[in-house]
Symmetry: C2
Subunit: 352 residues, 2 copies
């Protein structure tokens, strides 16, 4: 049969492993080590399941409203989707619709080229410099769009909003997407630029700082025009992407700002302590403003450390890719988890 | 600014209204009038919310397993998504990837041409005959793919699997999608043909017969090859489309087959009683095998009936489209709801 020749063939993104073994210290997918806001539990345990027979609110109005309020935007400046991957995938489809190549760093979230390949969008990698920093001037040329993660992943390096403002100013003909999945761990958001630049889209997620990876909520913020275009594409794809349980639980999470601040502060504290001990163990790393550290050891290859950690039920992330094959991305867990990992590394590395 | 010229512009699908007014008798979006299986409530009320900090199972293995078992298929023959719209949208993107036009009826689910427009897939409508039936021979010509709803919507007309077998046999070079959103109300599924034809994809949903429109679960069944291609595209779009709550609640629903049979039987009973009364009121309709009836009145225009029902807080669906502008699609509610609607119509129509 020849139906296969009409199939869109793609090489999918490979996500970090989700082991079923409960004993694993799981520092491989940047999940939050603490539970979501307690109000999320109240939503689930008090849920009137009968309302599930009806379709959800297609506009996700209530969740959009609390997010808009939190970020000082109007409701028509916020778009919600099934995790930031869903939001970014729709943004690629919507805004990167030209023959010109889109631009993004060579070392960054590895889904960007997967989406571009899926939608047959041409792209050009822009090399990070030798310190894994973005060179602004790489983005001062003709392009079909720009997407940059800030802080960048898996490097953890963060730039200031003024850095992005220069890029946005230089690109009035392109949509510039700033992917802020990790911005809540000490970075400064580009949301402050939204009312100034019609072509800036800022994407955030509930998966890391709100401990809701399992619920799938991401959102984009931008000008009314951008959000309208994004909604048109969403409503051309699936009227109801966000289910009723998710919407209500998401609202509960946003409404507890105090818990959010406490959890993110705790993770940043653990990160800074982890950095100190990693330094003593002869690791070198970039100044992460995220819930992970991207580190390389002065003497021992990353692959070796990755393997020995794994044998001892400690999962971190490693990519066999040029320039970063000697680095490990280590998510920040609880203090206890980090102590176990660091004690183990201390033992393992002491004679190396 | 000229960034707008690179934007993908589309005309989105317009879903049936979701009124906030609780007094409305809502027969406009084919929702189930009964609650989901009671086990769904147990899942929510007993949910360990702490697990939401972790990503869900990207393969949705457990839900896939119970669905495969229910339909007598293997696990690699089932694909799960965020409602059947998500599944169908991904199937369009995956399988309708040629320059040849895809084929579907002129009167059918109005999302098909929206997806085709979104992905720039060319298409040709095939006219239903004067009785709103599909002419098989319309699908015996070169094409880039075929999608047919069975039972069809909004007509409610159902064909036998043998009818589709003829179409599939005639199209070894195309993927044939049978959209069975409404098959659980008396239709016969084409699932029985899956092991015989590698290019057949059957799509079903939890939104109607499982009373879970608010949870967003749809699924596709087909050959291992089709499901593999679909998964590759899904994993190129969003690794985690199904959240942890949805997966567990979905499993609970599938496991209560007795409740499912009881609810669908009750809706079919109400439908048949509604047909009898509609006939007496001089409505004419097709022999629906769904949870709705597509009816026209012998004397009174559909728009007039639609408007007067709406003024009286009864919502049904009406399209201002050629050939069907004089029809109303009336979802089947509870016996009490249908009595209210029919009593009202009896009064309103008595002097017409």
């Amino acid at each position: 049969m020849s139906w296969e020749k009409n199939v869109r063939k793609v090489v999918p993104y490979v996500a970090g492993e989700q082991p079923q073994n409960k004993n694993v210290i799981k520092l491989n997918t940047n999940e939050c080590p603490y539970p979501p806001a307690p109000e999320v539990e109240c939503v689930l345990h008090g849920f009137d399941y009968n309302i599930l027979r009806k379709y959800p609110d297609p506009d996700v109005s209530e969740l959009v409203a609390v997010l808009a309020k939190r970020h000082g935007l109007s409701k028509d400046q916020v778009f919600v989707g099934v995790g930031s991957d869903d939001v970014l995938a729709m943004a690629f489809l919507t805004f990167f619709h030209s023959d010109k190549p889109i631009l993004f760093p060579d070392i960054t979230y590895s889904f960007y080229d997967v989406w571009a390949d899926l939608y047959r969008i041409s792209y050009e990698y822009q090399s990070l410099d030798e310190n894994f920093r973005i060179s602004k001037s790489d983005y001062y040329k003709e392009n079909g769009g720009i997407v940059i993660a800030n802080p960048n992943a898996p490097t953890g390096v963060c730039e200031e909003p003024s850095f992005f403002e220069d890029i946005i100013k230089a690109n009035p003909d392109s949509v510039v997407i700033v992917d802020e999945a990790y911005v809540d761990f000490g970075g400064k958001s580009c949301v402050s630029l939204i009312n100034k630049y019609e072509n800036l889209l800022v994407v955030q997620t509930f998966s890391k700082s709100r401990a809701l990876a399992g619920l799938r909520i991401g959102y984009a913020m931008g000008s009314k025009k951008l959000i309208k275009y994004l909604n048109d594409v969403k409503f051309s794809f699936n009227s109801y992407t966000m289910n009723t349980v998710t919407i209500k639980a998401g609202i509960a999470s946003v409404q507890n700002e105090e818990y959010f601040n406490r959890v993110t502060a705790k993770i940043m504290e653990t990160r800074e302590n982890t950095k100190k001990r990693l330094s003593k163990l002869d690791f070198v790393f970039l100044d992460s403003k995220t819930n992970f550290i991207f580190a390389t050891h002065k003497r021992v290859p990353a692959q070796e450390i990755f393997d020995v950690l794994r044998q001892n039920e400690i999962y971190v992330r490693h990519w066999n890719k040029p320039r970063i094959e000697n680095y490990l991305r280590i998510s920040i867990g609880t203090d206890d988890e980090m102590k176990t990992v660091l004690d183990f590394l201390e033992q393992y590395l002491k004679d190396k």
